[in-house]
């Protein structure tokens, strides 16, 4: 499954995502003058990569490296300032909301903080059903039940409110909402960083199973290389808005080519008092 960038170029073959020269600049509100527009800072400075169907791509980097911005650009939650993004062959770089609407159910996102991404005043069932209604799905009740079954919560959870759930359960609701739409692509942005290690392991196992069972393509943003090692088939390392390394997961961990990747690996505190370099 570990597709190696553009190595597979059979005729008629199309990667799910083709990204060329992607640039994103955002207004720097911290430096905004009293009058006039704020200056723009370049977050992503020309990224080229493909995401093959069925890949679990880990995106890693320090804070401010642009990993979340990249994710948001892939889902067209923000509009790139340069380059192109093709999703399943369609150029979505500058599509307007009407043009994007039919595509939106094909890529979906799981958010970092389930408490702020789930409406506290709605029951779990309604939270999962809303996007289904929005995209005109039939058999909504059934689909909600199936999604809850898939994430191991069970249908009884449809009647609960988010505050009645633990952090791990809330994150499962986020996953259920994403997979209910039967998307081809899911972006998971730091979805286990707020969880205890024991729930972290459960959510990762769940995600691993769903990727395999539903044939999903996954982009998994994380600052934790250990988690990526466990879940992903490919790793992309971002540093200051650029890709410094993009390779199958085994290669990156066995022989990191970029100095920054090495630095990231060395900085991870392993549960071992004799780890060299500390």
């Amino acid at each position: 499954m570990a597709g190696n960038g553009s190595a597979t170029n059979a005729p008629g073959h199309l990667p799910l995502y083709q990204v060329r020269g992607l640039k994103v600049a955002l207004p720097d509100l911290a430096a905004k003058p009293l009058f006039g527009p704020p200056p723009r800072i370049d977050i992503l400075t020309g990224l080229d990569f493909d995401i093959e169907q069925g890949t679990a791509l880990g995106i890693v980097g320090g804070s401010g490296s642009g990993k979340s911005t990249l994710g948001r650009a892939l889902l067209r939650l923000i509009e790139p300032t340069g380059g192109t993004i093709r999703f399943a062959g369609t150029d979505i770089t500058h599509l307007d909301e009407t043009g994007l609407r039919p595509l939106r159910k094909r890529f979906h996102m799981i958010f970092q903080d389930p408490m702020s991404s789930l409406n506290p005043r709605r029951r779990v069932g309604a939270i999962i059903a809303d996007p289904l209604h929005l995209h005109g799905f039939d058999r909504v009740r059934e689909r909600v039940g199936e999604a809850l079954d898939h994430v191991g919560l069970g249908r009884a959870f449809a009647a609960r409110y988010p505050h009645e759930l633990s952090g791990g359960q809330r994150q499962r609701v986020g996953i259920a909402r994403a997979i209910a739409l039967e998307p081809e692509f899911i972006l998971a942005d730091e979805i286990v960083s707020g969880l205890d290690v024991s729930s972290q392991a459960q959510v990762l196992n769940l995600l691993e199973r769903l990727v395999a069972e539903l044939g999903l393509t996954l982009a998994f943003i994380s600052h934790d290389l250990s988690v990526i090692r466990r879940l992903c088939s490919e790793v992309m390392v971002l540093h200051r808005g650029q890709i410094v390394e993009h390779a199958p997961v085994g290669e990156v961990f066995a022989e990191p080519r970029a100095a920054y990747t090495r630095q990231l690996l060395d900085a991870i505190p392993l549960p071992d008092p004799d780890q060299p370099g500390w």
Binding site: G62, D196, S198, Q200, A201, V227, R230, P271, P273
Partner: protein
């Protein structure tokens, strides 16, 4: 021979319901020692630090036990005396440097205010001490940084300032409550090294609250593993990582991410382990209620 901080049979309850949040916690931290308090969220690890510093939330009441700081029984003291003692020998390094620093105040006064207002230092002395400390925490150009506001500094810089501020009055005990959780791994490594360096240099007793066993293995000499407010294992770090004794400790270690050994890491905690440790807590609770 007694340790600088000794906690003995400390139980804290939630006022109203009477639910126990800390369950007969005992631990000791000696001068120059770093002890890790480890557990998942809600295990009571921060609560212990707060009890020592006398900053428990209003709804939480100490039901029994003793906290001895430098030989003084804190819970038997008059509140004013207790505050004076804690203020003069103990300090806190908090988790989130952005909420712990006053956004509308320059860095300098945030370090020196405590020295001047509480410990009665002269302004010039306090200022000189602040500059010296900023140098100690490896901040380049301290004269410039002292006039900055928190929002002008990076997360790592802000955490360095809180460390400087914690060490300012030469405390003999520091409680560090998840001081690196909000930081990048590369910055975390620098900050952990810095805390270790400062602690060794000043010979402070340090209580390090964290959920990350990887971090514990780097900075601590001993640790207490907590579950539901109960210490389930108390060990030396070298012994613990070689062979944890309690089943819950072993499960916690197996759930910890470890990129060098993906097969043996990130394993979900087995429900039977949770059942067993919950039963253990329930037995302790029955004995406790029976004994009262």
């Amino acid at each position: 021979m007694s340790a600088f901080l000794e906690i003995e049979g400390l139980s804290a309850v939630l006022a109203g319901t009477g639910a126990r949040l800390l369950r007969s916690v005992s631990l000791a931290v000696d001068t120059g020692e770093v002890r890790g308090l480890v557990g998942e969220s809600g295990a009571g690890k921060s609560m212990i630090g707060k009890a020592v510093l006398g900053i428990l939330p209003k709804a939480v009441r100490v039901a029994e036990g003793a906290i001895r700081l430098d030989g003084h029984d804190l819970l038997a003291m008059r509140p004013a005396d207790r505050r004076r003692l804690i203020g003069s020998v103990a300090a806190l390094i908090p988790q989130d440097p952005l909420t712990a620093l006053n956004p509308s105040k320059r860095i300098g006064p945030q370090i020196t205010d405590r020295l001047v207002d509480i410990l009665g230092w002269g302004k010039a002395d306090a200022q000189a001490r602040a500059l010296e400390l900023l140098g100690e925490v490896h901040i380049e150009d301290p004269e410039r940084v002292i006039g900055r506001y928190p929002h002008e500094l990076s997360g790592g810089m802000r955490q360095r300032i809180l460390i400087a501020s914690a060490f300012a009055a030469e405390p003999r005990l520091i409680i560090a409550d998840e001081p690196t959780t909000a930081l990048d791994v590369t910055v975390q490594k620098q900050i952990l090294k810095l805390i270790g360096e400062m602690q060794a240099h000043h010979g402070t007793a340090l209580v390090f609250v964290t959920h990350d066993l990887g971090v514990v293995s780097k900075v601590c000499q001993s640790l207490s593993v907590l579950y539901a407010g109960k210490v389930v294992e108390d060990a030396r770090v070298a012994d613990f990582f070689a062979a944890p004794r309690h089943a819950y400790s072993r499960a916690l270690l197996a759930a910890t991410p470890k990129y060098t050994d993906p097969a043996a890491s990130l394993q979900p905690v087995d429900p039977s382990v949770i059942e067993a440790v919950t039963a253990e807590v329930a037995v302790a609770d029955r004995e406790w209620i029976h004994g009262r």
